[in-house]
């Protein structure tokens, strides 16, 4: 059961502020979707390997060569707030 407290907890894991007034609506919608996806519990998957990637590629390596890339000026051209080549954010430790 997705209670308002569960929604609050998931929202906090997701770094999303949800207004108290919206908790039960989101809870109901998530409940419906989870009830539907529970369909998968009908399947016997005990001997089935998981597929996280459709082709079996693992650890794609390449030579570690230096190639042209964005300059710091270009990389910071879209920054919300920056200072001396760093992103500036509100205080992390009070």
């Amino acid at each position: 059961m997705i209670t308002n407290d569960t929604v609050k907890y998931i929202a906090s894991l997701s770094r999303l502020h949800i207004d108290d007034a919206d908790l039960s609506r989101f809870g109901g919608e998530l409940q419906n979707i989870l009830q539907y996806v529970d369909k998968l519990s009908e399947l016997d998957v005990s001997n089935v390997p998981p597929t996280s990637h459709v082709f079996r590629v693992e650890n794609v390596f390449r030579e570690d060569t230096i190639l042209p890339s964005l300059s710091p000026v270009e990389a910071f051209s879209f920054a919300i707030e920056s200072h001396d080549g760093h992103y500036k954010v509100p205080k992390v430790i009070e």
Partner: protein, 475 residues
């Protein structure tokens, strides 16, 4: 002559014969955008790119708003990206520019490609050119609507669970999702990284083949792109379908499918039978689990991919009026609360939930195993068939607002397109008729990995004999 209404290959022929100039084509298309975009809302913004010197294919193209064009806003139709301008081109944009393509601007979409109707866009709803009261499908609804309305000669979309094929079906155009890895995802804003592919939306199969040849190929910046040679897909179109083995999956013709859709697709099957194809009744027994599997895998990947939108580096940053937690956490939470729409919030929370401690095995791991079963069904079918033929969607375009209050019913409109993404295989949607209300019906052809040539030649044989693509939306 209305140049905006022509296909790319028709325009290239006129250009080659000196009958028109590239600028005349562009002027015609931009004029059409000015005339009809207020009614379709397919384009979010237009702009003039500097012309590239090479102009082998100066075809006006629209770009879905989740593909990076250097120095131009890319917003995924979301408020959280505000007016973000990427400092680089996506791999497909480099290729389009190198071919001489004329980039017209950004096309509307469901926010972060989360949807099947383009109603979750923060830039307004897109209207279907065939009936402005109806949705164009989604999430590449702007791309499909623009191509159908003459606002672009062709367009790029992206497909995570059907987002190219379902809108192509609803708008009466051709859309192809390539094999996973055929096209580089570098510069595509990620949604479900194990599912996403960029692909063409065009007015006919010939254009689809041409655009696919332009955008395909290995790219070292996308480690999942596959290093296989890229054929000239347009050269392989004229192939006999005699002897072609076409599978008809019984699970794709079940309750909920509109009678007009079933009738049109069955008629297409009869066409192929008459042409000498071998029609086989097949079974894909795990089809009914595809939507549930997808909404766990795709939301899990999305919740992780969208963690980067936090107000730190680029896009939107909002602080709450009154502090709630610590300064930086307040910034994350308020930025994301204001920046994301409801569907994005639902998917982020669902994805976070299925990955969270205590639920990972029950939901996420189980879904990855179900994905194996769905993929195995398709692998097995392709040992016995060359093509799997089905409807693209169970219905024609639905009314605006019809499904917005019930997210689950919206998800179910992707029931026939999702398996191709879960299995990584290529699939094309092309027009195969119209319902009584004059709305286009689409059929889907799926193929084995890297069987794009076979998909295109099969689609071409049907298209040339039936001619549905020549009917145009009246605006």
């Amino acid at each position: 002559m209305d140049l905006f209404a022509l296909t790319a290959h028709e325009i290239l022929e006129l250009l080659a014969n000196g009958k028109v100039l590239p600028d005349e084509v562009e002027t015609s298309v931009r004029g059409r955008i000015n005339a009809v975009n207020p009614r379709t809302n397919a384009f979010i913004r237009t702009y003039q790119e500097n012309k590239t010197p090479a102009n082998a294919m100066p075809i006006p193209i629209g770009i879905k708003d989740n593909i990076c064009v250097k120095g131009r806003p890319v917003t995924c139709a979301s408020a959280i990206l505000k007016d973000f301008c990427p400092p680089y081109d996506a791999a497909v944009i480099e290729k389009i520019k190198a071919s001489g393509g004329v980039i017209l601007g950004s096309l509307n979409m469901d926010e972060f490609a989360f949807g099947s109707s383009t109603e979750s866009s923060s830039k307004g709803i897109v209207h279907n050119p065939w009936d402005l009261e109806r949705v164009p499908g989604g999430s590449s609804g702007g791309s499909a609507a623009a191509v159908a309305a003459g606002e672009a000669i062709w367009a790029l979309g992206s497909d995570t669970g059907g987002s190219i094929r379902q809108p192509a079906s609803f708008c009466g155009v051709v859309g192809l999702k390539p094999t996973y890895g055929r096209v580089s995802r570098y510069g595509l804003v990620a949604f479900g990284s194990s599912l996403d592919q960029i692909g063409p939306i065009t007015r006919d199969v010939t254009d689809c083949a041409r655009l696919l040849s332009i955008i395909s190929g290995f790219d070292r910046r996308d480690s999942t792109s596959v290093d296989l040679p890229v054929p000239d897909y347009a050269l392989g179109l004229r192939r006999d379908v005699r002897g072609l083995r076409i599978g008809i999956p019984k699970e794709y013709f079940i309750g909920g499918i509109e009678p007009a859709v079933e009738k049109a697709v069955r008629a297409a099957v009869e066409f192929f039978r008459k042409e000498g194809a071998v029609i086989k009744d097949i079974s894909l027994p795990h089809t009914e689990y595809a939507v549930a599997t997808y909404y766990i895998v795709a939301t899990a990947e999305a919740s992780s991919n969208l963690a980067r939108f936090d107000g730190v580096e680029y896009g939107l940053r909002v602080l709450p009026d009154k502090p709630r937690k610590t300064g930086i956490v307040d910034m994350y939470e308020e930025t994301r609360a204001r920046g994301f729409g409801d569907e994005a919030k639902r998917r982020i929370m669902l994805g976070t939930y299925v990955l969270s401690a205590g639920y990972y095995d029950a939901y996420y791991l189980r879904a990855l195993k179900a994905r194996t079963l769905i993929k195995n069904d398709l692998d097995k079918a392709f040992t016995d068939c060359d093509i799997i033929l089905s409807p693209t969607a169970p219905t024609t375009a639905f009314k605006i607002g019809e499904k917005t209050s019930d997210p689950l019913s919206m998800y179910l409109s992707d029931i026939f397109t999702i398996p191709a993404n879960l299995a990584g295989i290529p699939a094309i949607s092309l027009p195969c008729g119209f319902d009584a209300g004059g709305l286009p019906i689409g059929m889907q052809l799926m193929g084995a990995p890297f069987a794009e040539e076979k998909l295109l030649s099969t689609a071409y044989a049907y298209e040339q004999a039936n001619g549905w693509h020549s009917r145009k939306a009246q605006l």
